[in-house]
């Protein structure tokens, strides 16, 4: 399982009702159902991902996240998870509102644009960053709203959301200690666990 998914797996409480946005091939939901009795739905638009979910017995709904979550009632779930999709949405801020409406607590992961390798690409070499977490060229990337640890924290502050946990996902193992100290510089993937205050 991807490193960010392993971390999230640990955070999800037993028996939770979960909505997984951009659930891919259903790996996380499948593991959560097996290990923790978690129920819920995944949303996905990739045909192969949907087929893989169906094969695994993971509930998957073909639904574009940019269309919102109107088909889920307020507090329909205990937890909404969105891994590596925030940066590809048309309006990440509105999606965050939707997520916090459907559940009290959300887990969100995205590539940290302020990661040092990205800074080197842009700051020193003068090219748009290309890395393991951002593998596309500037002209064909689905990632249209890139942000950083600091940016996301500011957005949560503006929306009055509380950050319960913050972690760093690293694809290669170098700099694990550094990333804990300076996540915005050394963290390749940002992982947030947020809750609303009501």
């Amino acid at each position: 399982m991807r490193s960010d998914l392993t971390l999230i797996h640990g955070w999800v409480p037993e028996g939770a009702h979960v909505l997984d946005l951009a659930c891919g091939d259903g790996t996380l939901l499948h593991a959560l159902a097996r290990d923790k009795g978690v129920s819920g739905y995944g949303l996905e638009i990739d045909p192969d991902g949907i087929t893989s979910c169906v094969e695994k017995g993971v509930n998957v709904i073909e639904q574009n996240l940019d269309d919102g979550l109107a088909n889920f009632e307020d507090d329909a779930c205990d937890l909404v998870i969105m891994t590596q999709a925030l940066q590809a949405l048309r309006r990440p801020d509105l999606m965050l509102d939707e997520m916090m409406r459907v559940a009290r607590e959300c887990i969100i992961t995205f590539p940290n644009f302020a990661y040092w390798r990205h800074r080197v690409h842009l700051g020193l070499r003068g090219y748009m960053p290309v890395s393991k977490s951002l593998p596309h060229a500037w002209y064909d990337t689905p990632n249209i709203h890139l942000s950083t640890f600091n940016d996301f924290e500011a957005l949560c502050r503006d929306k009055g959301l509380t950050i319960i946990d913050r972690a760093v996902g690293i694809k290669d193992h170098e700099g694990r200690r550094l990333s804990r100290l300076w996540p915005n510089l050394f963290g390749e993937i940002a992982i947030f666990r947020v809750t609303r205050n009501d």
Binding site: T51, V54, G57, N59, I61, E62, N71
Partner: protein, 391 residues
């Protein structure tokens, strides 16, 4: 019959089940005795856990797969999806496909003899509904010793029967596959059905449904009904790419004979149907479509109506289906979500309109087969081939 292939169920023989226990119908009447014609494919396993029920659509019947005899040019109507190694894998599942009550392919219907009068039922055959069909299917299951289906599967009107199964017999259905269906007809759907019915009923040869007593058939009415229906089964694009504005001859002839290819196609389809399908059955089946609305007793709240359902659902729609468009499937999916049920939904990109549910399409097959594979795995069903390898 074309050369036998490894993925065909091959030659099949319909069977008949006769029932003497009266079946009370939603309309208030009772069928005292009735017959159901059905086919089976594959082998029922020892603990009778691998049965799959196929529910047919408006003009469908029991012959879903394989061939009746060597001279058949075409296989059953869902042969693309039923057979060894296909989505509904007959190496794993025991498949039952029947002709519904009121039908005209062997089950008791308007062309059968009413035992109380000794006369043909004709237009006096009681109005049967989706609920009645499902009740009669449950009795057929009893007869075959099947207490619980591994899956009940259907497209279009067949999908409505699947939905009804999940509500009326939740303990008898382990999985539900609802394809290109809707939880209820829209005003536009009913309007098209009414045009079809009026076409039939206004044919002078209809004789208020007693056409058989006059040794005739309301061919023109049934032909028109089918032509209208057929337009709604195809997408605008499919019709456009198939026929465009192509003419049958080089020049316009400024008359009302067939000029455009699409006219020729519709007339051909209508003519073929008008002698092979019973008009009274067509009227009944369209009414069954119109009446289906499980949410009605719950103030229109579908999520409440779905409360009894226990099984996981697979709901499939097709992008260019405008008879029961993806939005109607989503209506069902969203109600299932609100009701907290297990459901997966795939909207398949296909140019073929409503008819897409009958056809093979790689993504459709992958999702359908993937779901059925999971059903088989959950039940511990192995394929006959795997068993052969083990031996």
């Amino acid at each position: 019959m074309p050369e036998p292939t490894r993925d065909s169920v091959g030659l099949v023989t319909p069977q008949m089940a006769h029932f003497d226990d009266p079946l009370p119908l939603v309309c208030g009447k009772t069928l005292t005795t009735y017959d159901l014609v059905y086919e089976t494919y594959g082998t029922l396993n020892e603990d009778r856990s691998n049965a799959v029920l196929i529910c047919h659509a408006l003009s469908g019947h029991h012959h879903a797969a394989g061939y009746h005899d060597d001279s058949d040019r075409k296989p059953g109507w869902w042969d693309a999806h039923i057979g060894p190694g296909k989505s509904i894998d007959t190496d794993r599942f025991f498949v039952i496909s029947l002709n519904n009550l009121g039908g005209c392919h062997g089950s008791t219907g308007p062309s059968s003899i009413n035992p109380e009068t000794g006369q043909r039922w004709g237009p006096d055959f009681p109005m049967v509904t989706v609920c009645d069909w499902v009740d009669s299917q449950a009795r057929l299951a009893d007869r075959l010793g099947i207490t619980r289906f591994a899956a009940v599967v259907g497209g279009s009107l067949g999908g409505m029967q699947v939905l009804q199964w999940s509500l009326a017999y939740p303990e008898r259905i382990a999985n539900a596959v609802v394809i290109a269906a809707t939880p209820k007809l829209s005003a536009q759907n009913i309007a098209f059905n009414e045009v079809a019915r009026q076409a039939i009923r206004s044919d002078p040869d209809f004789h208020d449904g007693h056409y058989a007593d006059h040794d005739t058939l309301p061919r023109r009415g049934l032909k028109l009904a089918r032509m209208v229906g057929h337009i709604t089964y195809l997408s605008e694009d499919a019709m456009g790419s198939k026929f465009g504005r192509d003419l049958r001859s080089d020049d316009l002839n400024f008359g009302f004979d067939v000029e455009f290819q699409v006219e020729s196609y519709l007339r051909y389809q209508g003519d073929a149907f008008s002698t092979s399908f019973d008009a009274n059955t067509y009227l009944l089946m369209t009414k069954a479509l119109d009446y289906f609305d499980p949410a009605a007793p719950h103030q229109g709240e579908l999520a409440k109506a779905l409360a009894p359902a226990q099984c996981p659902f697979l709901v499939v729609s097709f992008t260019t289906d405008w008879r029961f468009p993806p939005s109607r499937s989503k209506e069902l999916v969203n109600a299932l979500i609100r009701a907290g049920k297990s459901v997966s939904f795939a909207n398949i990109d296909s140019p073929h309109g409503h008819d897409a549910f009958l056809m093979p399409e790689p993504r459709y097959q992958a999702v359908f087969a993937g779901f059925m594979q999971r059903v088989a795995n959950d039940l511990g069903l192995t394929s006959r081939q795997e068993n052969d390898h083990a031996l």
